[in-house]
């Protein structure tokens, strides 16, 4: 009963706060007037006034991310020579650094390293924290451009990338992060520039406890949908998640901005029902996932004859653990408050499926919603084929070229995911990292690549991911997973923008109805199932069956 109250309270808070923040985002990010932020950015010689077409917007996105990449790569490869390195962490080798950098600039935060024993404080703060902010801002900028493409008529202008990125970072991300970081310090997260506490236990043993600017990084880690921890244990670590209250607040933060993005859409649309339709589809999928995962996690493991308590923390309940695992994979967050590798097989299945569908159940900050739009366009196209009419969305005709790009964005990451997994399972360099034989070994690889392509970042951490093979392949996976979809979305936005909007007639397929919502739900599930069902059967489903024997 307490668990039901918990999840209802959580969702209501997220919807309420999401509506408020979403409305503020819709207003402040689209405001034509020059605001203080714009003026400040302008002062630095950056043009925030002129409007960009899709090509310019895309190039800005890519070049901006490229510079973030170079900065971060340089910082972590040179951290030994930089200040604020009290624990004397060495420079990181190129491929390892490439993987980390890719991971943070794509909002994935897959971690091939253990934070406390690898990263200097300067790298954590000036390197990783900054990209936590900016990668989330890029996601929202692309989303904004996409929505503008839907709404404008016979125009090529999708907005100004520099303005969108800086407004979102300064007006939304920064204030929220400051607020919650202070709260997290109060709950027990360290925020200091000292590197280590040295203590002598009651039994006379000397111990070292690593500390640092944890709260500032954890606030944006949760808010920006990043999920990369300061410590190896991520949010299981007591310094990253000290109390049940900090746990609850972090659960809210996982959902907060992704929900806000949907509300921002709702407040930008002339017909808000279109937005509510998307919101309800996401909500239904989330609730079903939470239900299945909790059911699985509350069973008794027939191998140990015990509950699934391996990899959990005593301050969090079974439900709080399974709930987190669903939210963090539905939304492209990727933080964990219990070890996913030790989850019940059904909970593993839900987490994997969430990531494999491209994380569109609220999804990453910005990226979840533009991913969802691709499914909407596909559904519109399929429905159009069924009734034999040219498909339309927002009065815009969906034609060959658009469907072509939708196909690329929806199919390629999944296809490459399977290809990369297959390569890993057929080469000794791929197999040698696996820590389990049999079904779970397959799941480890599948999870790694699904997490990379979905830009999630959580892991079955038994896999030793810091090898040349996985650094290269998961790195490529993260880049493809992020940028194939971004390119496709901006191309589609540009193409839709220049079209005329046709007035809806009696034969137009309505996209704000329950029927359409069911159709969309069906398309998402069928797409995910068709692509991944065989792999899932061999992994978590087989594991579930073995456990049930």
């Amino acid at each position: 009963m307490g668990d039901v109250i918990l999840v209802i309270t959580l969702l209501l808070i997220c919807l309420g706060l999401g509506a408020v923040i979403g409305k503020y985002m819709a207003r402040s990010l689209n405001d034509e007037k020059i605001c203080l932020t714009d003026r400040f950015i302008c002062r630095m010689g950056i043009d925030t006034k002129s409007q960009m077409n899709w090509k310019e917007y895309l190039l800005s996105t890519l070049v901006f991310t490229a510079f973030g990449f170079i900065f971060l790569q340089a910082v972590i490869m040179c951290q030994a020579w930089l200040p604020l390195n009290p624990n004397h962490r060495p420079n990181l080798p190129f491929l390892m650094a490439f993987n980390i950098t890719t991971s943070f600039v794509t909002n994935t935060n897959w971690q091939n390293y253990a934070g406390e024993s690898t990263m200097g404080l300067f790298s954590q703060m000036v390197g990783l924290t900054v990209q936590n902010f900016l990668s989330a801002a890029v996601g929202v900028a692309v989303l904004l451009a996409f929505v503008r493409g839907l709404l404008i008529k016979e125009s090529i202008t999708l907005g100004n990338f520099w303005k969108d990125v800086s407004r979102f970072t300064i007006k939304i991300l920064l204030p929220l992060s400051i607020l919650f970081a202070i709260f997290f310090i109060q709950q027990g997260m360290p925020q200091t520039f000292k590197g280590t506490i040295t203590a002598t236990t009651l039994e006379g043993k000397a111990v070292k406890i690593p500390v640092g600017p944890v709260a500032s990084q954890m606030a944006i880690k949760m808010i920006g949908g990043n999920g990369g921890g300061f410590y190896n244990g991520n949010a299981t670590h007591p310094f990253e998640n000290p109390t049940p209250i900090s746990n609850f607040i972090q659960l809210i933060l996982i959902l907060l901005l992704p929900v806000s993005c949907v509300f921002m859409l709702i407040f930008m649309l002339p017909n808000r029902k279109e937005g509510y339709m998307i919101l309800s589809v996401m909500g239904v999928m989330l609730l079903v996932g939470i239900g299945i995962s909790y059911w699985g996690q509350s069973q008794i493991n027939s191998i140990t004859q015990m509950k699934f308590l391996e990899g959990t923390e005593s301050r969090f309940s079974t439900f709080e653990c399974s709930l987190w695992s669903v939210l963090t994979t539905a939304v492209a967050n990727g933080s964990v408050n219990c070890m996913h590798s030790s989850l019940s097989p059904l909970s593993q299945l839900v987490a994997l499926f969430n990531m494999m569908t491209g994380e569109v159940i609220f999804g990453g900050v910005g990226s979840g919603l533009y991913g969802m739009f691709l499914y909407v366009l596909l559904t519109v196209f399929l429905a159009g084929l069924m009734v034999g009419r040219t498909p339309e969305y927002f009065g815009k005709k969906i034609e060959t070229k658009e469907v072509y790009w939708v196909g690329i964005a929806l199919l390629f990451p999944g296809l490459l995911n399977l290809v990369f997994s297959a390569i890993a399972l057929n080469t000794s360099s791929g197999l040698s990292s696996i820590s389990h034989s049999g079904e779970h070994g397959l799941s480890e690889v599948l999870y790694a690549f699904s997490s990379s392509f979905g830009n999630n970042g959580s892991a079955f951490a038994g896999l030793s991911a810091n090898t040349d093979f996985y650094n290269t392949f998961t790195g490529m996976g993260m880049l493809f997973g992020r940028f194939i979809v971004i390119v496709a979305c901006l191309v589609i936005a540009g193409r839709l923008g220049v079209k005329k909007a046709i007035v809806a007639g009696p034969g137009t397929l309505k996209t704000d109805t329950t029927v359409f919502a069911f159709l969309l739900l069906g398309v998402i599930i069928v797409m995910g199932a068709l692509t991944f069902f065989p792999a899932l059967v061999l992994g978590p489903i087989a594991e579930h069956l073995i456990m049930g024997q």
Partner: protein, 197 residues
């Protein structure tokens, strides 16, 4: 191309200063001003002012006279947090369980969490019942300096309930409980316990 390179470079630089230096710096200032102990890692000092540990970081306990925490994948090495990552059907878990049971001399009814490793490997808590379960051993090791009733009261005093009735679990912070216990039960010669006086 210059149209993109200049703003991309300058914005990255600007945000690096704002978000990478000013933001954590300001929080460090605020944190230390209002929550100094929390911000510096919630350390616990003994009577002589020496650091015993952090409230939030579990420690390893060898002596019979202390409450024990959960098994840890890294043996409570705070420089190496993380779990075992064993899958539910991994038989290595069974070996770990046998090992953990031996520590409790294969008593019946050992709480499950005392046999299964925590996620962080640094779990500072055990469940309330896991503390109650360990009472007979502690009373024995304390050689009559504390009886079950007093010990139960001590556990209750050091336990933390669910927040708002629904968040978290009823639990005990092992380090805090052991410090409180230490004040009542100073036994010499059992393990190397004399570090704290």
């Amino acid at each position: 191309m210059k149209k993109y390179i200049y703003p991309a470079f300058v914005l990255n630089l600007f945000f690096t200063v704002l978000l990478g230096i000013l933001y954590p710096g300001v929080l460090d200032f605020i944190g230390n001003l209002f929550f100094h102990n929390r911000a510096s890692g919630s350390v616990i000092l003994d009577d002589t002012g020496r650091i015993i540990g952090s409230e939030f970081i579990g420690q390893i306990w060898n002596s019979e006279k202390y409450f024990w925490g959960r098994p840890s994948a890294s043996n409570y090495d705070a420089m190496n947090s993380g779990g075992t990552n064993y899958s539910p059907i991994d038989t290595r878990t069974l070996g770990k369980i046998t090992e953990a049971k031996k520590r409790f001399q294969n008593q019946s009814g050992i709480p499950e969490e005392l046999l299964l490793s925590s996620g962080s490997g640094l779990d500072p808590h055990i469940l309330f019942n896991s503390a109650i379960f360990q009472m007979p051993r502690i009373v024995g090791a304390c050689e009559g300096k504390i009886n079950e009733e007093e010990l139960r009261k001590l556990i209750i005093r050091n336990s933390e309930g669910k927040d708002f009735g629904i968040l978290g679990q009823e639990r005990v912070n092992v380090l805090k409980l052991n410090i409180a216990l230490d004040k009542q039960c100073q036994v010499k010669g059992s393990g190397n316990v004399d570090g704290h006086k």
